[in-house]
């Protein structure tokens, strides 16, 4: 097990390092300059040059890369050109939205998908199954941002139950709080969760069906376990392996989804920060955010690997 994890961890670090180079290089080619953007069209060229120097934009690329990485290692992401505040602070604020949003969506999707998938599998080829799977097909086909728009149309425009966008924050003094915050995240989370739930439900169903065909399930039934008991005790855990895999793979898509959905709902999350920052040529923020997202994806996949270990004892034997 140790070896397996160590190897995964080494790959993880390697991937992150490669990611940092790619992200930095790609953003270097980006046309435009933060100083000019900050100063606007009618600013004096001298003032723009001065700002460039202040922001360190005139340093050679390699030097800036080195600075960035050494800063990152020490937990310092540098200072945003646009906001003039430490990127770390900025990112933390945004994560306070994006992470709960992703988790909420993931939780919704998982609960929904497991229930629907297991139900469909247990009613294999009967009406319930066909119905649930038809819904799942629909769920996969619907673009999440469109679903988001439909939700707004229904719940904000027609029923006026929810705000059409924006985020009041978690703290009471800015007019937010736990409940207003959650309320603002609910529609976005639902629109994100639908696709995920549909994909996961299909995976769950086929995984459960696959496991149901396995000999050991027949063995369990031969022991005298009822259909339901066999499902809970023997099938589900085995079916979790592919489900967890797909969940890990889908996590990247979920994050991608938050970028889009944050734009639909005007949520100040990481995705919109990236968007804004690209528009502002606030590259230091873009860089760090993209790295952060990549790191999150990689970390989640690492956790998925850990889950395999927890779910399936054979993983430990499969060291190589």
């Amino acid at each position: 097990m140790g070896l397996f994890l160590l190897k995964r961890f080494a790959t993880l670090l390697g991937t992150l390092a490669a990611a940092s180079v790619v992200v930095f290089a790609v953003l270097e080619i980006l046309p435009g300059n933060a100083a000019q953007t900050l100063m606007g069209a009618d600013a004096d060229p001298e003032a723009v040059a001065q700002l460039s120097a202040q922001l360190g934009l005139d340093q050679p690329a390699l030097h800036r890369y080195g600075q960035w990485i050494s800063g990152l290692v020490q937990g310092d992401m540098g200072e945003s050109h646009a906001y003039g505040t430490p990127v770390l602070e900025l990112v933390q604020e945004r994560l306070a939205l994006t992470v709960p949003l992703a988790l909420l969506a993931m939780a919704l999707a998982t609960v929904l998908a497991l229930a629907a998938g297991v139900y469909a599998a247990s009613r294999h080829n009967r009406l319930g199954d066909v119905g649930v799977m038809a819904l799942a097909q629909l769920g996969i086909a619907i673009p999440n941002f469109w679903f988001a728009i439909l939700l707004i149309l229904l719940f904000s425009v027609q029923l006026q139950w929810f705000a059409a966008g924006g985020f009041p924050g978690w703290s009471e003094d800015s007019g937010g709080g736990l409940w207003p915050g959650l309320k603002a995240l609910l529609l976005p989370a639902v629109s994100l969760a639908v696709v995920q739930a549909a994909i996961l439900a299909r995976t769950t169903r086929s995984a459960v069906l696959e496991v149901l065909r396995e000999d050991f399930v027949r063995t369990a039934r031969a022991k005298g376990l009822g259909q339901r008991a066999a499902l809970w005790r023997h099938v589900l855990r085995n079916a979790m392996v592919p489900v967890v895999t797909v969940m890990g793979l889908q996590f990247a898509n979920l994050l991608a989804g938050t970028i889009v959905v944050e734009n639909v709902f005007y949520l100040p999350g990481l995705g919109r920060l990236i968007f804004q920052s690209i528009a502002n040529r606030d590259l230091i923020v873009v860089r760090n955010c993209v790295m952060l997202l990549a790191a999150m994806v990689i970390a989640v996949n690492f956790v998925v690997d850990l889950c395999y270990g927890a779910i399936d004892p054979r993983v430990q034997a499969r060291d190589l």
Binding site: L3, E214, A222, K223, G226
Partner: protein, 640 residues
């Protein structure tokens, strides 16, 4: 009241071609403590019968008739009620020990599960009993291994665990569905003995399902022979074997290659075969299911269900023309090719071992194949990060010589390195050490072009007739593949040659344009052989060429191989775990054990006077059908 009474059991399955009657009109009873064997070829409905008894039929299957356990009707019982019976009153052991255990649960818990379920025991108590059970079935160190996972056990051990699981609640009836088919012969022997022992000990009734007549003959009191979903012959084992009455049963027996030695000079006997293949269940005639393949049919056979004909006592055959079989009646066990071989063998003097070894006999002609000090090792996974990589020595210091026209067989249990050897001989893998010389050329030292030419002289046949033919190519492409690689003949020439070899293996030239899935397993294996033959090779390496086939088909393929050897003079390097097959076809046998050749010699000698203990276990483990080997009632442990 009998423990189990099955009457008029019918099982129907929906198929794309309509409802298939997988089991029809099955009747039998089973007393407490009695053992019943169910035998038949693949797909004849054995497993479905077993599943019907357990109430575990696939959802789509429809069962009718009656199954009574101690007088209680099981068919139509709600699942909840069945759950109380399953595991408690009757239990089942499945074929595949590798997959019958949940890979994610500790074996202790899995064995304890039925106890907790039915006896209402607490966790600790149940685990205590589970440990005792594991000890009873022969798991060493049961206390420590309770918390291990299935993947940490070998196949034989896993089968023991499933048996422990089945026995947990002390059921009255144990159903074992081909419990040993997936295991090596040596393990098969042990497991069957264990089951017999436990059945006797606990006075359980046993239904043993097998496709191997030998296994049935040695292990059960009474037997049912199934064909195409119906019983064709039934009776006490001893009486059935003393007078096989149904043409199918006789065919089955005659198709089995024997362990009897073959005369060194004489013509090798051909196996008797049953023409054709097992029919599709959806296409069965309304009359005798065997009518399509029977050599003795009357027109009415195809339309009228055969009547039950009593042979002796409770020995019954279902056949319209038992009188056609009459000459054979009463002497089945006494006539060729069953017992005489065995008797003759014991009369033969043992020959000097190593007579066929090229180094001992002066070579009149150069050896066709010479293998010298061949070794192959695979790197194993590291134990921890800084541990040196250890090696798995799959093959070590293997030497042998194959002379033209003399076939060599290689036997050994699973994992002994047989396939590795085949791959090295075919130059499909690189040896760690040693050489393989074909007609004096070291294959592993040849440049690519020369190797390609050399391949003309050696071809290969594989075990799995489904996997060895590319499903997306037409037979023409498949059969001419060796010619394509050589690139000498034109398309038309290739096709002509392909038609010729197909004829040789008993297929038609119209088959050239079909796809593999349009053929049965036996036919596919013929195609594979045709592919190997097309370059007129001197050597054919056959890795388990018949072990995936049913006995009746296996006999056809073995006969074909034998005929081809006589016609074209090919030499076989035959790999098999089945000693009888090797005995039937080969002039010399090499016994491979853990990557080394531990013994070699002419099959007759070797199987009579095995020197190496491993060879001896191997030979002893082969299920035989001969006087003294046939199970008699209340004789739980077969004499070995």
């Amino acid at each position: 009241m009998p423990l189990l009474q099955v009457s008029q059991l019918n099982i129907a399955l929906p198929t794309p071609r309509g409802l298939a009657q997988a089991v029809r009109g099955l009747d039998f009873t089973l007393e407490r403590g009695e053992t019943l064997g169910l035998i038949g070829e693949s797909g004849c409905g054995k497993s479905l019968t077993a599943l019907a008894l357990m109430g575990l039929l696939p959802e789509r299957a429809r069962a009718s008739g009656s199954i009574r356990l101690d007088g209680q009707e099981l068919l139509g019982l709600p699942d909840a009620a069945l759950c109380r019976i399953r595991g408690q009153r009757m239990a089942m052991v499945f074929q595949e020990p590798m997959t019958a255990l949940n890979p994610l649960h500790r074996i202790g818990d899995q064995v304890a599960e039925p106890l907790r379920l039915h006896s209402g025991l607490g966790r600790a108590q149940a685990r205590g009993q589970a440990q005792a059970l594991l000890e009873r079935v022969g798991i060493a160190n049961a206390a420590q291994r309770m918390d291990a996972y299935p993947h940490q056990f070998s196949g034989g051990q896993r089968q023991r665990i499933t048996i422990a699981m089945a026995l947990a609640c002390g059921p009255d009836l144990l159903i074992a569905d081909e419990p040993t088919t997936a295991l090596d012969v040596t393990l098969q022997q042990q497991i069957l003995a264990l089951i017999a022992e436990l059945v006797a000990e606990r006075q359980m009734a046993l239904i043993l399902i097998s496709h191997d007549l030998g296994v049935i003959a040695q292990n059960v009191d009474r037997m049912l022979v199934m064909y195409g979903g119906s019983v064709v012959e039934r009776g006490a084992t001893a009486s059935v074997f003393s007078a096989l009455a149904h043409p199918y049963t006789r065919g089955l027996l005659a198709a089995r290659p024997q362990m009897a030695p073959v005369a060194p000079t004489g013509q090798r006997p051909r196996l008797a075969t049953i023409a054709g293949t097992v029919p599709e269940l959806a296409d069965l005639p309304s009359g005798c299911p065997f009518a399509g393949r029977c050599a003795f049919t009357l027109p009415t056979c195809h339309t009228t269900p055969p009547p039950a004909v009593q042979v002796t006592g409770d020995h019954v055959a279902y056949c319209l023309r038992p009188e056609a079989m009459a000459p054979a009646l009463g002497s089945a066990l006494g006539t060729a090719p069953i017992a005489p071989g065995l008797i003759a063998a014991s009369a033969q003097p043992a020959r000097a071992r190593g007579r066929f070894d090229a180094r001992n006999t002066p070579a009149s002609d150069p050896p066709l194949l010479q293998v010298c000090a061949l070794a192959r090792s695979y790197p194993l996974a590291r134990q921890h990060l800084f541990a040196p990589r250890s090696q798995l020595h799959a093959l070590q210091g293997v030497d042998f010589v194959v002379r033209a026209g003399r076939s060599v067989g290689i036997v050994g249990e699973s994992g002994s390195g047989k396939s590795t050897l085949a791959r090295l001989v075919m130059a499909l893998d690189t040896p760690s050490a040693g050489s393989v010389q074909l007609l004096g050329q070291d294959l592993h030292a040849l440049p690519a072009q020369a190797l390609r030419q050399a391949r003309r002289d050696m071809q290969m046949v594989f075990q799995d007739p489904y996997g060895s033919l590319d499903p997306r190519q037409r037979i023409e492409r498949i059969v001419t593949e060796p010619l394509q690689a050589l690139g000498t003949a034109s398309r038309a020439e290739q096709r002509a040659q392909a038609a010729a070899v197909l004829a040789q293996v008993g297929l038609r030239s119209s088959d050239l344009d079909k796809y593999p899935h349009e053929f049965s397993g036996g036919q596919r294996q013929r195609i594979a052989i045709a592919r190997a033959l097309i370059t007129r090779p001197r050597l054919i390496v056959a890795d388990e060429p018949v072990s995936a086939l049913d006995v009746s088909v296996q006999a056809q393929v073995l006969n074909l191989m034998q005929d081809l050897q006589q016609q074209c003079g090919v030499t076989y390097l035959l790999i098999s775990h089945d000693l009888a097959v090797v005995n039937h076809l080969c002039d010399e046998v090499l016994v491979l054990y853990q990557g080394r050749i531990v013994e070699r010699g002419a099959p007759g000698d070797l199987f009579q006077n095995a020197q190496h203990p491993y060879t001896r276990t191997l030979v002893d483990a082969v299920p035989r059908i001969a006087p003294g080997y046939i199970h008699a009632r209340r004789m739980a442990v077969p004499m070995v």
